[in-house]
Symmetry: D2
C-alpha cells in the first residue's frame, strides 16, 4: 500500500529535524510555516490531500486559537486548519486540548497526541542535558566542586540529578515524599524533607527547582550563600516569585523548553520514529 503524504504545519527546530527524518524514511512530505520560504496559505490547501497525515507542533497551540509557528511571518488559525481537514486525514500533535481537541472530536477526524507518558519520559532526559548545558554556562567552578540542591524528585529532577551524580557531583534532593527520598538515596544523593531546605540553603552553590509551585520563599532566599543561583526547570507558576528573588539579589536562571532549544535533532527523531511506527502499523 502506498505511503500517505505528510504535511507538517508549524513547529520549531524539532519539526525541521522531524521533516528530515521522515524524508529519509521515504515519506512524501511537505511543510507549512516551518521555514519562512514555505508559508503560502494557498499552497497549504493544495498540500493537504484527502488522506494526508497532518503533523502539528509541540505544543500544537499556545493561545487556543492559532498553531505555533515561530519560524513563519504568517499564522494559521485552528479554524482555518479544520476547514481544510476531513475524516480521512490523520492528525498528530503535541498537547492536543481545548478548542483544537473539541473541533477534532466533533468533526470525527482521527488524531494522536504524541505528547504522552512515553514521550514525557524521553523529554525529561533531553531536558536534563539542556539543564547541564545551561548549568555549565552559569558556574565559574569545576562542576564536581559545587554543592547542588534539587527540589522535587519527579522525572526531570531524576534525570538531571543522574547527570550530576554521573559527574561525581554532591547532590541533595529535597522532597516531601519519603519514598522519593529513598529513591534519591539509592541513586547516591543525600535526601531531606523539603522543609529542611530553609535552614540548609546556605550550604549550596546552586538550587535546581523542579516543583511548579512557590516552595522557595523568603526564609530560603534570605539564607542562601552569597552568589548562589537558582535554576528554574519547573513550569508556571514556578518554584518562586522572581521579583522576590531579585529583592534578595539571588540570580534565577530560567531554563524553559530546553529540548526544542538544545536537542532538537534527537527530539525530532523521537517524534519521527513514533509517527513512523504508527503509520507502519496502519499499512
Amino acid at each position: 500500500m502506498k505511503k500517505r503524504s505528510i504535511v507538517i504545519i508549524g513547529g520549531d527546530k524539532r519539526q525541521r529535524y522531524l521533516k528530515e527524518y521522515l524524508t529519509e524514511k521515504g515519506y512524501d512530505i511537505s511543510s507549512y510555516g516551518l521555514f519562512d520560504w514555505d508559508d503560502d496559505t494557498d499552497k497549504l490547501k493544495g498540500m493537504i490531500g484527502e488522506d494526508s497525515v497532518i503533523i502539528l507542533p509541540l505544543p500544537a497551540t499556545r493561545n487556543d486559537k492559532t498553531i505555533v509557528m515561530p519560524f513563519s511571518k504568517r499564522e494559521i488559525s485552528i479554524d482555518r486548519l479544520m476547514s481544510l481537514l476531513c475524516k480521512n486525514n490523520l492528525v498528530f500533535g503535541g498537547i492536543i486540548k481545548g478548542e483544537l481537541l473539541s473541533r477534532l472530536r466533533e468533526t470525527e477526524i482521527p488524531f494522536v497526541d504524541y505528547y504522552d507518558k512515553d514521550f514525557i519520559e524521553k523529554n525529561a532526559v533531553l531536558t536534563a542535558f539542556g539543564a547541564l548545558k545551561i548549568l555549565l554556562e552559569h558556574i565559574d567552578f569545576a562542576l564536581p566542586i559545587g554543592k547542588y540542591a534539587v527540589t522535587g524528585y519527579g522525572r526531570v529532577a531524576k534525570e538531571t540529578t543522574a547527570l550530576l551524580t554521573a559527574l561525581s557531583c554532591d547532590v541533595t534532593v529535597f522532597a516531601r515524599n519519603p519514598s522519593q527520598r529513598d529513591d534519591a538515596i539509592l541513586k547516591g544523593c543525600y535526601a531531606k524533607e523539603l522543609t529542611e531546605l530553609s535552614c540548609e540553603a546556605h550550604e549550596f552553590d546552586i538550587v535546581i527547582n523542579t516543583v511548579p509551585c512557590h516552595i522557595i520563599g523568603e526564609e530560603i532566599l534570605s539564607n542562601m550563600k552569597k552568589g548562589c543561583k537558582i535554576m528554574e526547570l519547573a513550569s508556571a507558576p514556578y518554584g518562586l516569585d522572581f521579583d522576590l528573588a531579585r529583592k534578595y539579589s539571588v540570580d534565577v536562571i530560567k531554563a524553559f523548553s530546553l529540548p526544542g532549544k538544545y536537542t532538537p535533532k534527537t527530539a525530532g527523531e523521537i517524534i519521527g520514529r513514533r509517527i513512523a511506527t504508527h503509520l507502519q502499523k496502519e499499512e
Copy 2:
C-alpha cells in the same frame, strides 16, 4: 498515643535488619522464626497483643500454606497464624495473595502489601547492584572491555544497564518495544529489535536476560561467542531452557532474589521506613 507493639514473623536477612531499624526507632518489637533461638510457638501466642502490628516476609508465603521462615527449624501455617489474629491487628506483608489474602479479607483484618509499585522500583535498583556483584565474579576481564547484551528494558534491565554504562561498558539493549529502544539510546546504549539478537549473538561476552519467557532459543545459543555467559535475572519461566543452554555448553548464571542476599540492610531499612511512615500517619 503509645506505639503499637510489632511482631515480625519469619523472613530473611532483610527482616533482621528491619527489626534492627524499627528497634532503633523506638518500637517495641519481638520476632518469631527470624532467629533459630526465637521460635517457640507458644511464645508466639504471647507475643501478639490485641492491637499488635504483624510483619510478614517478602514473599509472605511460597506454598500458599506456610509463612516463609528460612532461619527457623519450625514453620507456621497461615491457618495457625490467622487463628492468632483479630480485627484490631494490622498486617504488613510482601506479595499477599491466594489463601493468605482471602483469609485476611474474610476476617476483615486490615493489611498492607508493602511490595507495591514504589517498592518494586527500589527493588530493581538493589537487584542491579546484586547483578553487578555476580557479574564481576564471573568475568576474567576488566568490566569495560566486555560487550554486553541486555534483553528487555523494563525496570531491572534499566537499572542494571545504568550501572554498566556508568562504568563505561558497551551495552546493547534488545527490546521489542521501539519506545523502550529510544529510552535505551538516550541512556547511551545501542538498541536493536529483539529478533536481531540471533544474528548478533556472537558479538557479546555476556548476555543479561530480564525477559521471563523463552526468548533465547537454539538460533541464539548456537551463535554465541565461545565462553559467552548468560546471566538470568528474570523469574520463571525464565528467558531460556537451561538444559538447552547446557546442550550448547553455554554457562547460565542464575541470579535470583538478589536484594535479600546482597543488600539486605538497605532492603530492610526501606521496608522499615515504609512501615514507620504508615504507623506515624495512624498516630
Copy 3:
C-alpha cells in the same frame, strides 16, 4: 612571624579569585592591573615592599616584553617590573621563561613557576569541563547519542574522554602509542591507530583533537560525515590547517585557554592553595 605582603600584578579572572582566596586566608594583598580601577603605575612602586611576594599571571607574559594584563588599559614591561624588585622579594608566576626567566636569575630574585607538572594535571581536568561546556553548545542531539573521536591520549584527552564516558558516550581514541590505546580501552573507549582515522572519519559526529600538529589532513576532512565538527583543544600549530577545514566546509570549534574562561574560581583557588602552602613552609 608576620605574613609577607602580596602584590598580584596582571592576570585574568583566575587572579581575581586568587586575590579573594588569599584575602580570606588573611594575607595582606594589593593588586595592579587586575581591575581597571587599580592600575596606577606610581601606586605600584608603593605597593611593593622590600620583602613583598609578587604574583604574576599564567602565562606571565606572551610577548616576552610585558606582563599579561587583559583587564587593564595600561601595561607594565618586564623591565619596569624588575626595576622594582630586589633579592628579598619572592616571585610566583606561570610559565616563567625567556627574558623574565633570565632577568630573575641574573638579579638572583627567588621565584617559583606554579605551572608545573602538578598544576598541569589539574589544568587538564579544568580544560575537560570547559570542553564539555563548549561541546554541549555545539551539538543539537543528546550527548550520549553522538559518536566521538578523540585524537591523542595525553592528559587533556584522558580527562575530556573521562567526562564523555561518564555520561555514557561512545568514544573512540585514535593514538599512535599502543600503550595509550590500552589505557583508553581500560577506560571503556574503543582505541585505534591514528592512521585509521582517515578511513573511519565518516563514522563520527564530533572529532576532538588534542594533538598539536597537523594530523588531520585532506583525507580525513574529505571523509567526514556531513555536519561533523572538529573541536580543537590542542595548542599551536594545532591539529589541522583551519583554512583547509573551511575548504571542506568542516566547522572547527576553537576551544582555547578554557580554565581561565570557564572555571576561573577553581583555577584561582588551586593557585592560591599552592602559594599559601609555599609561604606557610617558609614561616
Copy 4:
C-alpha cells in the same frame, strides 16, 4: 624474517591468557610449568631454541631462588634456568631484580622488565576492578549508600576512587599531600589531611587503605563505626597491624594481587601486546 619461538616459563592465569593471545597472533609458543601437564624438565631444555624468547611471570620470583610456578608440582631454579640460556635469547619478566637481574647482566642476556611505569598504570585500573568486586562481596547495603574513606591518593587510590564516584558513592580521600587533595576534589571527592582520619573515622562504613605503612593506629581503630571494615590494598608492611585491628574487632579485608585473580585475561593481553609490539620492532 621468521618469528622467534617463545617459551613461557611459570606464571598464573595471566600467562595462560598471554599464551592464548600470542598463539592467536601466530607465534610458535610452548610453555613450562603453566599447566600441570606441561612441566617435564627435560622437555624444557628441548623447548628453548638458541634464539628463543623467554617469558617469565609477574613477579618472576618471590624467593630470589625459583621462578613463580603456582600451577606446577615442580619448580625451576634461577640457576637451572640461566644454564639453559645464552646471549641470543631474549627474556621478558615482571619485576626482574636480585639474583635474576645480576645473573642476566653478567651473562649479557638481553631482557625486558615489562613491569614498568606504563604497566603499573594499567595494573592500577585492574586492581580497582578487583577491589570493587571484593567490596561488593563484603557490604550488605547498596553501594551508593555507604560512606567511603580512602587513605592515600596514588595510582591505585585514584582508580579505585574513580569507580566509586562513577557509581555515585560518597568518597573522602585522606592524604598528606595538598596537591593530591586538590586532585581528589576535582574528581568529586571530599579531601582531608591524613591526620583528620582519627577524629572522623566513625563517619565511614568502609576504609580503603592504599598506603604501605602503618598509618591506621589505635586512635583510628578505636573510633570506627561498629561494623566498619578496612579494605587493605597496600603491600607490606600494610596500612595497619592486623592483630591490632583484631583487638578492636575491626574486620580487615585483605585484597592482594587482584589483577591476577580477577582480570587475568585483560592483564595477559596487555602483557601480550607489549611483548608483540617489542618483537615486531625487532623484525
